[in-house]
Symmetry: D2
Subunit: 364 residues, 4 copies
């Protein structure tokens, strides 16, 4: 065995490797990853964001005023801006009168509106006005800018597939020559056409499937569908839940970033399962907790938390009213690459035991 040790050492010197030593690191019986679950309190995020609102001016030097969620375990790997292995999440503040200048990038982005109104996102010349609870898409490589015509600060969540695109060395970015991309179509045009029903304008008969012809998904509509679903049986793992879809394909609204809204009724406690795809959750309203691999993450309105890949999880609503959890995930990618798996927790009636409680950091 001495000889083999020597061989192993010699290989290393010429950048060759002995698989007999390392196979177990490359091909693991179950997913082995560095993504830890984590939770951020809304008060903390919001406080810093408003502070940045006072200290930072938008412009070509600093195009966006965003505080992003940095997964501590991925920071250790030098992975800046990673919430999970594939997903980035930030929280953005736009003040009345401001413009976040136009650019485009190969990363897909979604916005989920948390606070305020009167701001818009413009995608390829179509402005969509924001209201709390709306989902707005800026598909990969579309020109986009944000503006604010209202009177109060507007805050929203940004979700991008930063990790994914970086892993694949596929990042491209281009600033637009002016701050505002020219408006070319009526405001909120995509919701005129597509948001209300399963109907396609005849002029779109030959339109390509992606990017989605629908840019904005109104909270009013989503809420209504969740209400409707509540008359039927809930999903055992997600309660009453929907994926936002592209009306021209039936697939995920964004090609690569999955987007989901779920409603948990008072007292609802979903069963535990795990899946390869990871997610980042935002609590639109309500209070409760999620158990991730035995650790209790308590959440309330505005909080964000991370569900790592292949981690047991179950949700509990402890409040008096409905809780709404919005989340982004990388399920569309897992499906396209045939990497998704799902497993139900079959012990203890489908519920985990709580072995620890997460203590969120706070500087407030």
């Amino acid at each position: 065995m001495k000889a083999l040790d020597r061989l192993n050492e010699e290989l290393e010197k010429v950048y060759l490797g002995p698989l007999w030593e390392k196979l177990g690191k490359m091909v693991t019986p179950e997913p082995d990853h560095e993504v830890m679950p984590y939770l951020w309190k809304w008060e903390t995020i919001r406080k810093y964001l408003l502070e940045a609102g006072e200290l930072l001016r938008l412009g070509r030097e600093s195009e966006r005023r965003v505080v992003y969620l940095q997964n501590p375990s991925l920071l250790k790997q030098g992975l800046i801006g990673y919430s999970t292995n594939t997903l980035y999440v930030g929280v953005q503040l736009l003040l009345p009168g401001e413009v976040a200048p136009a650019h485009r990038h190969s990363q897909s982005a979604i916005r989920f509106i948390i606070e305020g109104e009167g701001a818009y996102t413009a995608v390829d010349g179509e402005r969509t006005y924001m209201e709390r609870g709306d989902l707005i898409l800026t598909p990969a490589w579309t020109w986009h800018d944000h503006g604010h015509e209202g009177t109060e600060p507007v805050i929203w969540m940004d979700g991008l597939d930063v990790g994914l695109v970086r892993n694949f060395a596929g990042s491209f970015f281009e600033p637009y020559s002016e701050d505002v991309f020219p408006v070319s179509v009526p405001h909120n045009g995509s919701t005129f056409k597509y948001a209300t029903g399963a109907l396609r304008p005849v002029s779109d008969r030959k339109r390509k499937g992606y990017p989605s012809p629908l840019i904005s998904y109104k909270w009013k509509t989503t809420k209504q569908v969740l209400e409707n679903l509540s008359k039927l049986d809930p999903d055992p793992y997600d309660g009453y839940a929907v994926d936002y879809i592209n009306p021209l394909t039936g697939g995920s609204a964004d090609l690569r970033i999955g987007t989901t809204m779920q409603k948990l009724t008072p007292g609802m406690h979903t069963k535990a399962h795990r899946h390869v795809h990871s997610a980042v959750y935002h609590v639109l309203d309500g209070e409760g907790y999620t158990i991730i691999n035995g650790v209790k993450f308590e959440w309330a309105k505005g909080d964000f938390f991370i569900l790592p890949p292949w981690s047991w999880h179950e949700h509990v609503n402890t409040g008096a009213g409905d809780a709404h959890l919005f989340s982004i995930n990388d399920l569309p990618i897992m499906e396209r690459l045939d990497l998704e798996r799902e497993e139900a927790y079959d012990k203890n009636g489908g519920y985990q035991s709580i072995i620890d409680v997460f203590e969120p950091l706070s500087q407030v």
Copy 2:
């Protein structure tokens, strides 16, 4: 040439044919067909239908009380029940308390509700209640029955791909063992889930694309989308128009029967074009006319008319209010088989000259 004539004759006797004589019949420079345009007045149809309501009892002997549109030119070919070469259209009456018993068939069917309410169509155990202007699907080979819990007669349009399925020798039919297929899911369940927005319940993530998960398209919603579209540019050939789509695929609501609703604003006069796909129109409301190959077909609320394949056509709204035209077509088939073509009428600024006016038959 005498010798060739003799050869042609001899071939005929042994059921062989001389292509040099017949090529032009098989492969024509442009579509050559026997489908004529035609129009039926609502008063005529309705009168006979109500009469049948008095004379005919529903049951296994006569499962449906329907008066169908028989294209005169296709009747000559012995093609019973053909409105166009592929499509059948009937008008059905159901009286309070009646049941049209459960069966299934390989033909796809759609229903478009014209008059009354309180009746339902049940598809595989899910009842959908009817209101004027709604579109209801009964996809091929799904069990379906109709019942009426209201107090007034209900009348609707049926559209089936009878000609298509007959041409392909694909007809299968099976009566259900009982009159009513057991109700297994909540009433109107599909609209709860799918009709309101581009959202998919997470429990349908792995559901097959066809048949559509959405069985009923409410008029209220369709009308709203047409209102919205009216703020944008109209389609030159169809005005403000939408196709009903399957939210899981973005394709036609029914796999084989296309369904379209168009709105013509007062005075609107669309440009003429023609296409391989054929259609049958029903006037939901309004008045005006359609020019088909130079012949004027005047229509008013309730009327039905036929647009044959590859026929020039343009629509005019002559009324004071909006006109709404619902139509079924065979475009989905043409696209799947790569047979569709479209051509704009390029003479006379895009408008045909009227060379004749169609006189509808009437026994009223």
Copy 3:
């Protein structure tokens, strides 16, 4: 009931129909069609074809010298050139030095080479030279002409979807301005690239799936694959059989016309089944019979016979050597429109009783 009779009559006068009388004609429990099985002897076809070779000159007046198979039952319906409800089959003769001039049409066409060599089919400027047993495609709307540089007559089978295209009113035809379309790529180029293996030139990475990049399927290759398959288990209904496929899609070689070659070893007797799709068979070599709905159709080298939709059929090789049956079918259409069904014959161990023997007509 008198009153109902009167109503039925009145309806007829205004081109409306009483579904309660006619439902059973439109929606049948099983396919109801007018396609009869039939068989033509090779001697008969060939004799007349050679006679036409003496009597008919090719040119723009008579572009092709073809004797086609006219199904007698469909002739009664006035359906000229229909072998089945969707398919046309002809047998074409080209003499040394002749050119069958260039044109294109919306019908798809396939050629199967029966006799002779030295002739070619040119598709969009690429010539493919013919050898006995080869399959050559001329996909819908591609320019094609045939020429003959050899010394002996060449005879091949033509298969077109004439009935299909006519049913859908989709026929378009255009002659080319000259007799021969300009040659633009090397002869037999598609087989250079695609016929030998599951390999795609990198320059075709973005090529559309249809039409097939492979125009010619050599008999030598097909025969070899059938030899290989013979070491494995045969298909119970088709013996050793393959479909010709498009290497860029894995689907049928032609988008709409299915093409199949099957090998029956001496004594092989396949089990009976039926399916919605219809077919026309050509006996490349061997002798035997096929039982269609209880009627025995005896065949030998060169013969053609028709398998109607939804008809029980089983094949028997009575010769000392292998029999090879080439056939075209409308399965690709049935699959695209979700109309295909298949049923195994479950009586009598899977074999039909012979109740009659078909007597082919002959003028020889």
Copy 4:
């Protein structure tokens, strides 16, 4: 600006990040990655591999005798077994009489045979025998083992999507209960059925597209197609080149790992381009060099080298005979996720200037 610095620091403490500082790290104008180009000499690899043949016994403790290519720059990131950001390549030795025991994993694998014969790979019970130049697939999650019935050592290249699967936390592995998975179908069965032509056995009409029904691509066939292609124009960037495809889909042979073989004729010098997808090359035969981002990588028979993402590259054959380069790449993933881009080098007539020559390490 002091206040903003303080804010940045405070954010860091609670695992939040200031996007205004870091945007440029996440979203770069062009791909920013740590993958360096590299080259390993065949003599070095082979020497160590044979040494391992003497020192290491196969068994459940060490299932495979493989020396893998460790990209030096990725080793620095702690990424063990990464040749590129997505791909792993190893070189495997199997000695006569040995068995590499059966297992399965969610990573896809391909084998490319370098030396020897008489060994086989068994995939789900089907053994495929190896010959130099063959490509053999073991699609993700299929059971596979290797055995050797010959008399000389066999050496092959392994390619797996280790990095990809790790990035997505999708690794699953399972050993089979016995060393050899039971043989259930004839040896080399997939090449019997699929390797020779564009033909699909009728019994596979309903078979799913992936995994490929074809497991082995014989060098003899691939070589022939490259010969054929050589009569046509070469690809400007790849010479005469083919992708191995799945005959049921027309897509990449493996769902996630692209596989390509290219032939460079004597003196051929391809033009430079770059693309997002990365590759690992193996020189089947010939000698020449590849310029990657201005650095010359000289190669000869048996060598391996790495092409990083978005790197200019051009190939030159300096030998007297043809050079054949086999490569694996992650193009199928880039296409599925819509991340691929390609750019031609437009300076200097399309050719790079050489600014450096790579010096391979060697312990021989």
